[in-house]
């Protein structure tokens, strides 16, 4: 998910150059010139940056499927899918794939019978249930005996010096990232190719248990759950509830992978001591056989709406007060999308900017201010979020009113040229910092491609730079002037008083 970028106002300038020093023909395009795009006939896209200096390669695979793509009642499915990589593929990790599958299928059959029995409601035969349960467990254990142990690919990674491994499902996407010694980079192609070709259900029930962690643990997540009412009949509605992998069946996992993990729905970035020619050769060898299939159709989404009571209060123990305000906005494909990014930058443009003067000047109303253009994601209609911590002695109501005042002048006045210049400098500085390390550049490439439609950094900059002050005013009037949803996160100083 796009985490809010929280920047304490007084420190903001550290990240950006105020003077508009950006030369024409942007220097950042040098990053794109060093990138090669490879596309296989099945639609699979590879983005390659050769950095031969040090013998490592960073790999980042992104699937355009995340928590928002989980069918109703199957929360946790996206994490189970991306996490299944560590168990190996149908072939790798098994001593006897046929034997393993037969035993696993038998366990599934017994569990299906159990569920059918349970569906009978009050007439459940407990003795029969117990027997089925025992038989299913035994069959599951038997299937495990045909394997080379749990988490086979994890052991392959350890043995071969891989590091910085991550498998994570976020709101809109699922990511698999790691860094390998360049000498062994073919291993990545062999592992990932085999897994995408035929993922394994091995140790499914152990993983289901493993990922059955409550999603609503962090304060940010508790806060997110309060936004639930804004998303009726919308894929993001599901994010607002807890994870219950217990409801996920192995057949759900198979179906999810089959429909979402298709070449046209994947982007792979590879940065490090490997040539584009090598990538092409390995890609053809290990990925060309993946059948092409259309990416799944987007789910229906009713645009988020704010109606009825639009203020929620939550108390989070041990957290300081925060006022969060959200306005519905269109998804990331909207032509107005870059305007929201510029508004985000204007909200956090730091000392000297008009927003800063209004909210954090000599008699400050906020201590920190963060804006998130796409919250919680952007593949579907979403929210523009502003979060602020009150300055000492200020109430959450005062903060809310302060933000309303900011929007009021944004509706009538054009942003100052210096504020636009600050915003411009801030995203350049951030993009440069991201690109320094191999893993950072790989993540940046997949993000640009999947979230903004082009891996070319200059395309992103061109869109942002093309936003005019008039666009900002128009979008504020169009989207940020209707009713908004406000969330006050309360706290109590004395331990134990907050709930």
């Amino acid at each position: 998910m796009n985490l809010p970028r929280r920047i304490a106002l007084p420190m903001l300038l550290s990240a950006l150059a105020v003077t508009a020093q950006t030369p024409p023909g942007d220097r950042l395009a040098s990053l794109t010139r060093a990138t090669t795009e490879i596309r296989l006939p099945n639609g699979l896209q590879f983005l390659v940056v050769e950095r031969p200096q040090s013998p490592i390669v960073a790999f980042h695979l992104r699937v355009r499927a995340g928590l928002a793509d989980e069918p109703a009642g199957q929360t946790g499915l996206a994490q189970l899918a991306i996490g299944s990589f560590l168990q190996g593929s149908e072939v790798w990790g098994s001593r006897n794939p046929a034997g393993e599958k037969a035993a696993f299928d038998e366990a599934e059959k017994l569990l299906a019978t159990m569920r059918a029995e349970q569906a009978k409601g009050e007439q459940i035969d407990d003795i029969k249930q117990g027997r089925l349960d025992t038989q299913a467990r035994l069959a599951y254990q038997r299937s495990n005996e045909f394997t080379h142990g749990a988490r086979f690919f994890e052991r392959v990674l350890m043995e071969n010096g891989a590091t910085d491994f991550e498998s994570r499902a976020s709101v809109d996407y699922s990511d698999l990232a790691m860094t390998m010694p360049s000498l062994r980079s073919e291993l990545w192609f062999r592992m990932v190719g085999a897994w995408l070709q035929a993922p394994s259900l091995r140790y499914f029930y152990d993983d289901r248990q493993r990922y059955n962690e409550p999603r609503l643990r962090s304060a940010a997540q508790v806060r997110m759950s309060a936004f639930g009412g804004v998303f009726p009949l919308h894929p993001y509605q599901a994010l607002m509830s807890d994870t219950e992998t217990a409801n996920v069946l192995s057949s759900d996992l198979t179906a999810f992978v089959k429909s979402h993990y298709v070449p046209a729905n994947l982007t792979i970035a590879i940065v490090g001591d490997i040539t584009a020619a090598e990538v092409r050769r390995f890609a053809e060898q290990y990925f060309a056989k993946l059948p092409s299939a259309p990416p799944p159709a987007p789910r229906n989404a009713v645009a988020p709406k704010v109606e009825g009571p639009s203020l929620a209060r939550v108390a989070v123990s041990g957290q300081l007060p925060v006022a969060a305000s959200a306005w519905p906005r269109p998804d990331g494909s909207s032509p107005d999308d870059p305007v929201f990014d510029v508004l985000q930058a204007l909200f956090t443009a730091g000392p000297g900017s008009r927003v800063h003067a209004e909210l954090a000047g000599p008699s400050p109303i906020v201590r920190s201010l963060a804006a998130t253009a796409r919250y919680p994601g952007a593949r579907y209609p979403t929210l523009f979020l502003v979060e602020a911590e009150p300055a000492p002695g200020r109430s959450l109501e005062e903060v809310d009113l302060g933000i309303q005042r900011v929007l009021a002048f944004m509706k009538t006045d054009l942003p100052a040229p210096e504020d636009m210049a600050r915003a411009r400098a801030s995203w350049r500085s951030r993009l440069l910092a991201e690109a320094r390390l191999a893993s950072g550049r790989a993540l940046q490439l997949v993000r640009l491609q999947t979230e903004y439609g082009s891996y070319r950094i200059e395309d992103r900059l061109a869109k942002l730079d093309a936003v005019t002050p008039e666009d900002c005013r128009r979008v504020v009037n169009q989207y940020l002037s209707g009713q908004h949803f406000a969330l006050y996160q309360l706290t109590a100083v004395e331990g134990g008083e907050a709930q």
Binding site: L13, S30, R155, M158, D273, A391, P392, S429, V493, G495
Partner: protein, 741 residues
Amino acid sequence: MSIRLLRLLTSFTMAATSGLLLAQLGKPPSQPAGGTGKNKAPAPAAKKAATAPADVPDLAAQTGDLSLGLRFGPASARGLRPLPVASFTLPNGLKVLTLENRENPVVHLFALVRAGASVEPAGKAGLASITARLVRSSGTESLTASALEDRLAALGVTLDGAAFDSRAQFAWRAPSDSFQEGAAILRDMLTAPRFDADAFDQAHEAAMGAVADRNNGPALILSRVFREKIFGPTSPVARQPGYDSLEKIAHADVVAFHRQHYRPEGTVIAIESDLSAADMKARMESLFGAWKSAGGQPPAAAPETPVPAPAASLSFADRPEARQSAFVLGHAGGRASDGDFGAMLLLCELLNSTLPRRVREAGGWRADWSAGWEPGFDRPGEFVVRALVEGPYTTQALQIAKDEINRYRTGQFSDRDLDVVRTGVLTRFALRLQSTSDQLFERSLTEFYGLPGDLAASVYQALATATRADVAKAAAARLQAPQTIAVLGSANVFDKPLTTILAKVEPIDLTIARPTSSKVQTDPESLARGKEAIAMLQKALGGAEKLAAIRDASIRYEGTVAVNGAPAPIAVHDRWMLGDIYRQDQVLKGSAPRSFFFNGRIAWLGVPGYVDPMPPDTLAQVRVEIFRLLFRLALSDRDPKRQVAAPGGNVILVNEGDKYSVRIHIDPKTNLPQRLLSRWTLASGAVVSIEEAFSAWKEFDGVQWPTHIETRRNGRKSDDVTVVEARFNSGLKAADLERKP
């Protein structure tokens, strides 16, 4: 009551790192996701392969081959590529390395100056650090300290500066577009720093504060003791600034040290940018060409302090409250240029892989290990095994470490053992040096110390190619039987006494000699003036009788507190009742709420659902808080245990024996306190100093109270808070203060 946020005096302080990337390999990186004990040997080759059906497509899959049937060339087939560095020396002796990088338009610049601790004058340990700090932050002739920070921020420049044992080091980074102006500022900082007296006072106070912090945390204590033992207490590597050495350092010393040691000859500057070598050369000539040494002839290189002959020793500090023990074990090591550097890194990886295994075999108690070969560039480094273990297993763990070292010393390991660790250590080595700027920094160090420019690449090759015989040979030559050991833990829970490891156990001295400047003034004249001054203070705060009638106080603050140097939002509620019942509740962003309670007999600190006795050093601070509650402090003339003096200069000194002393700076216009400086001594002898600046006074229930308070702790910016509510005599109840969270 004024605010100093109570803290658990456990330390976040980090020991200064050497900056030597190569040496940091002993620390294992983040592991692939989840779980523990994953790195098992591969599953036994398919015993049941004969029963496997014919549809298994690949023997490698069937056998669980962890290379998936691929065969890779030797690790030496890939390595670090030579950096295409251009170098030149300006006529003034400044050595410049340049590297062109057309991919990423960011400039990285590293400046290394021969101004480390090894060239400090005798008895003035700490001078190199104070000077480097002031070069970094005191400003330039044309920019004050705060104008400098603003300008660097506007240019997008980040800059760190610090002194190590044999160099001062400045790392600078900026977008290409800001290069010219940003580099000119750096030049001015290095060649003509502002060095004003205020900045010196702050840096000096911070250095004094660091002395107080030096016993915070086992890592700091153990590494200090370890280095003193192996290098001798006067070696620049081991010696540390104390109150005695810092009190000898004056502003003029910093100016003189800078004149003598910040000079172009001997200095190395390395730059990576998207400019061509020729372009960069022209710019560097114009930027730094006019830099001239001001201090006469370059000082002769300090003679290297000889390393004492290895001798077995065991130092110990008893920590009766500790559940875990921490120890270090090792001896002097080698230099980065030694041919067996790579072999010794591999050896430490072997130790890191087998020490946890030995613990599992011994019963599987909790132990964290880290073995490292940490070479020096211009001096011998260290071989050290660090451990954190469950208290009862301390001597067992020490014995395991000794046995393992001995096993490797006598060559008892296999080729397979070596292969298992080799791939991981190579990746981590490559990862540390993955960007060209990381490599350029490493390259600048080799240039500075006169080592071969391809050092990193050759160490990589050595890691890739060292055979079992090479590692065994290095181990036999390098690992020594007489080891230096230092232990912190609770002796009464140890499985066996430490004397079973070594007959003679020496105590670790954790006392810190007190600074002489905290001694209290007592001449009769200043005592008489003190009476007058405090009477005026009482009047300004609301009148002596008004203050004396205060039975309880409740103050709420909101603001920020420095956590690891960065401001973190905090909300605090302080409550006090007559009889010195005191409670503070804190909510710090990102932590569980904490409460501190003390009533003269009982002292605890709690988080929701859990209460612990208050650690002694925290209790010491609570006692100071009570001592210096403003309305109580202002009545110090009524307390026979306290002494009030006014030495002049609008200052009132209040002290209670030599336990507490407070210095109040009075605003002559209002007679209200402007600043309050408190010092107190911890059990260890360390002195803590807190300085508060008060402003925005308002009246609450007839009492004047500051509503804005900025705090410096041991010379460093700490808290910045606003009073949002102050109430006196509101009828607090002891039961509310005592309630556990």
